[in-house]
């Protein structure tokens, strides 16, 4: 019990020294660390609440995705029935499904076969989610019902979320900020954290916009107001303008070219009017299509539409053959810049809604770090004074263990690259108070054993061995709370849970090994007659 073999001593000292060594980088400015090797530059990353920045939780509009899916199912069904020359009526969406009525009863069976051919096998997942993406059933009479399978919907949402994350990453990168965190959360959410960027309003315009760009011809067969009061001609629809109060437009639904055909978009200034515009360039097939349509429609207006709203509707003066052009729409410089970023990064598959937003200014973050440092140091000094006052020499041993303990917490956080938040700092300070508990348990036990008449060595030995089960019981229950807190916690609260858990583990380690080692060595060297507590 009171003997350590050499290898154990080396191990304990190495762990303690390692903890202190990996704590050091956090005490210096990053510029001072440049000269050191990479593994010595690991610092605790600071949370948004400490360095300032924005946090957005975005939810994907999965209803929009389902609507798109139903649209495309209706389109496929129409084509399949036409190819098979089967007469039908009333093809369209009805709630969560697509319905079609087959004219002749004798065609229903063939129609069912043809429509069932539309179903594609789902790409199998790890969970063995095979099956098909479309369920086709016969309804009452000659009605056939087509419904996307739940698995197909889930897969679609999941894929859309993945591509949204890619798109958002491109957009954020274009803002030129450092190290954004973009994570999938649950089935249909994205967590976005941008350190050092405390303008959530701009972030939201960059991230929240679908940015679906389309070019349409203007339908001049009637005016937009006529179309609203009667009904728009088939194949056309009324689109609002992006400018509030401007009259709406009647446009052909068919798109000439879309944002997918763009290869580049840049903010620039119009050469004549000097107002901010966005210049763009199509890829070769987009350029060809655009050239053909503009050639056929000289003198007629076309509309540039972003997310179903018309930015502008210039008249085609001459065929645009070069595949490039510019969008003007009374932009400010920042608006032109934002639009260029959005167009370059591509559209989102569905709109994203901001359901939670937190942003912290850099000055508040700096104040919090300062407050955290001051509180931490004062907590440390107070605990040190209390322990030395209460236990004398053994108190000094406990303080050594406490220093190593804090070192281990900070080193672990640095190596795991776990984010330090303000509640995390509170966790470290709280741990200082609680961490000495294991030592207190041991010392109190030694005191008791020594009072009951045991010799120094026996009292110390009994003190350690009797205190163990209490230490384990007391700390495991505390750890349990910490783990649940981490599991269910969000954001800064998680940071607190992490430091709390690491702190508990570190304090068990230091109390059981390091304090004991110090006391054993002290016993060996001084051979005391009494226990000094």
């Amino acid at each position: 019990m009171l003997y350590f073999d050499r290898w154990k001593i080396i191990l304990i000292v190495t762990i303690a020294a390692g903890g202190l060594l990996f704590t050091l980088p956090n005490l210096f400015a990053p510029s001072q660390l440049q000269a050191l090797p990479g593994w010595m530059q690991m610092r605790m990353p600071l949370g948004l609440d400490l360095q300032g920045g924005s946090h957005l939780l975005l939810q994907m509009n999965s209803k929009e995705l389902r609507d798109d899916l139903l649209e495309s199912i209706a389109g496929d069904a129409r084509q399949a029935l036409r190819e098979a020359r089967i007469g039908y009526s009333g093809l369209g969406r009805a709630g969560d499904e697509v319905r079609v009525t087959i004219r002749k009863p004798e065609d229903v069976e063939t129609a069912l076969t043809k429509l069932r051919d539309l179903a594609r096998p789902l790409s199998s997942t790890i969970l063995g989610g095979s099956g098909r993406d479309l369920e086709v059933e016969r309804g009452e009479g000659n009605v056939i019902r087509l419904r996307p399978s739940p698995a197909a919907l889930t897969q679609r949402v999941s894929a859309a979320l993945g591509s949204s994350i890619e798109t958002i990453r491109r957009r954020i990168d274009a803002l030129g900020t450092t190290e954004p965190t973009i994570q999938r959360q649950g089935e249909d959410r994205i967590l976005l954290q941008v350190p050092g960027f405390d303008d959530p309003a701009r972030l939201k315009t960059i991230v929240g916009q679908t940015a679906k760009l389309t070019f349409h011809l203007v339908d001049q067969t009637m005016s937009a107001s006529e179309a609203i009061s009667s009904r728009p001609p088939p194949g056309s629809a009324v689109y609002e303008s992006t400018e509030a109060g401007a009259p709406p437009y009647l446009l052909q639904k068919r798109t000439i070219v879309s944002g997918e055909d763009l290869v580049d978009a840049q903010p620039t200034f119009d050469r004549r009017t000097n107002e901010p515009v966005v210049s763009f360039r199509f890829d070769s097939s987009g350029a060809q299509r655009f050239a053909r349509v503009t050639k056929e429609n000289v003198g007629r207006p076309f509309a540039i539409v972003l997310d179903d709203k018309v930015i502008s509707a210039p008249v085609i003066r001459e065929p645009i053959l070069g595949g490039s052009g510019q969008i003007s729409g009374n932009f400010s410089v920042q608006e032109a810049n934002n639009l260029a970023i959005l167009l370059r990064s591509g559209a989102l598959p569905a709109s994203l809604q901001v359901i939670e937003e937190r942003s912290v200014g850099a000055s508040l973050g700096a104040d919090s770090i300062e407050a955290g440092k001051v509180a931490g140091v004062i907590a440390f000094v107070a605990v040190v004074a209390f322990m030395i006052g209460g236990y004398g020499l053994f108190g000094i041993f406990a303080v050594v263990a406490l220093i190593v303990n804090v070192g281990l917490i900070i080193a672990t956080l640095s190596l795991l690259q776990a984010t330090l938040t303000l509640p995390g700092i509170a966790g470290i300070a709280l741990t200082m108070g609680v961490a000495v508990d294991s030592n207190v348990l041991i010392f109190e036990r030694i005191r008791e054993e020594s009072r009951s008449g045991k010799s120094t060595i026996l009292a110390i030995e009994a003190g350690f061995s009797r205190a163990y089960s209490t230490i384990i019981d007391a700390n495991l229950t505390g750890l349990l709370g910490g783990i649940i807190l981490f599991w269910l916690g969000v954001g800064p609260v998680r940071g607190f849970a992490v430091t709390l858990c690491i702190g508990i583990l570190a304090s068990m380690f230091t109390a059981i090994t390091l304090t004991r080692l110090l006391i054993v060595e002290w016993l060996r060297i001084t051979r005391p007659q009494t226990v000094p507590i």
């Binding site: 309003a201 942003s359 303000l422 348990l441 089960s469 209490t470 007391a474």
Partner: protein
């Protein structure tokens, strides 16, 4: 190596406080506090932060001298934003503004923030904005409750396996007592109750159980040691034996927390206040409620082997 300093003993060697005989008094005090909490929750309720209610929080700092709360209030009152809460936040230049969730989705929230910013004028720096939607806030309520219940359950199971069911029940009753009364304090003071306070409650659970387990551990040990000692004497002995440790650990923890409370900044003041209060009440409940509660429940006296509990303890348990 001579060390001339004699440690100060905060708890004298032969301290013998009859803790168990205070049980009735403490039970009355705690029962009253719990009743008061119930009444407070039913009447005043909790001042839920935006985490749980949805809405927008803005922290500002004026750059031209102390903030004029009255002026800000009358400024924002004319904006038609529904309920607006304005309060000082630490330094005299710092103000916290909270508004309820605006009808009309995400756009409306941003417009409200813009409106507030515009009406506050040039000499104001936006330090922090938080917007929480209704979907998120209801999920957070649910998660917070699950976390609290799961932690209590986990602790119950652990203590039950390591000790006996009476200990587990006593521990969980004490935990419930601590958390509930802390919540009561938040109702009485109408301090902001947000997600960090839930984290604080969970921390209180962890700390209070730590304290309780240390005392229970000693009770179990003494149950093995003194087979014939009356239970209330045995509990008194155990609490007194661990009293020095209780004072030392509570002392260091409170010192660390006081430092955090006083110097850790306004942002975490509510959080540290909750833990500070919770630790005081947790220590009280470990000593005065959890330990004597075992008399009330009746504990197994024969810890010598794996034999079934004695009929006496069975009957006493059934009476409860």
């Amino acid at each position: 190596m001579a060390f001339a300093f004699k440690p100060i003993e905060l708890v004298p060697q032969h301290t013998n406080i009859p803790f168990a005989s205070y049980f009735r008094v403490c039970l009355t005090i705690s029962g009253t506090l719990i009743l008061v909490t119930i009444v407070l929750l039913a009447t005043l309720g909790l001042n839920f932060g935006i985490d749980f209610r949805g809405g927008t929080l803005i922290e500002i700092r004026t750059t031209n001298g102390p903030a004029d709360i009255g002026a800000i209030r009358s400024n924002l009152g004319g904006l038609d934003l529904g309920e607006v809460q304005i309060q000082k936040f630490g330094a005299p230049e710092e103000v916290l503004i909270r508004i309820a969730e605006q009808p009309g989705g995400e756009q409306a929230q941003q417009e409200a923030v813009d409106k507030i910013q515009a009406s506050l004028g040039q000499n104001v720096e936006l330090r922090r904005t938080e917007v929480v939607g209704a979907t998120v806030s209801s999920e957070l309520v649910q998660q917070a409750l699950i976390a609290l219940v799961l932690t209590c359950l986990g602790i119950f199971v652990y203590v039950w396996f390591r000790f006996e069911w009476q200990f587990a029940l006593g521990a969980v009753v004490a935990l419930f007592h601590d958390v509930f009364i802390t919540v009561g304090v938040f109702s009485a003071t109408q301090l902001d109750f947000d997600l960090t306070i839930v984290a604080a409650l969970l921390t209180i659970l962890g700390y209070s159980i730590n304290d309780t387990v240390v005392i229970y551990d000693r009770i179990r040990e003494n149950l093995r040691k003194y087979k014939k000692k009356p239970i209330n004497e045995l509990i008194n002995l155990s609490v007194n034996e661990t009293l020095s440790r209780t004072v030392m650990t509570t002392g260091t923890t409170l010192l660390a927390l006081m430092a955090l409370y006083l110097f850790g900044g306004e942002v975490i003041r509510g959080f540290t206040f909750a833990i500070l209060f919770g630790i005081v009440i947790g220590t009280y409940s470990s000593v005065f409620i959890a330990a004597p509660f075992l008399i009330f429940l009746g504990v197994k006296r024969d810890w010598s082997g794996v034999k079934a509990p004695s009929p006496g303890s069975e009957r006493r348990a059934a009476d409860v």
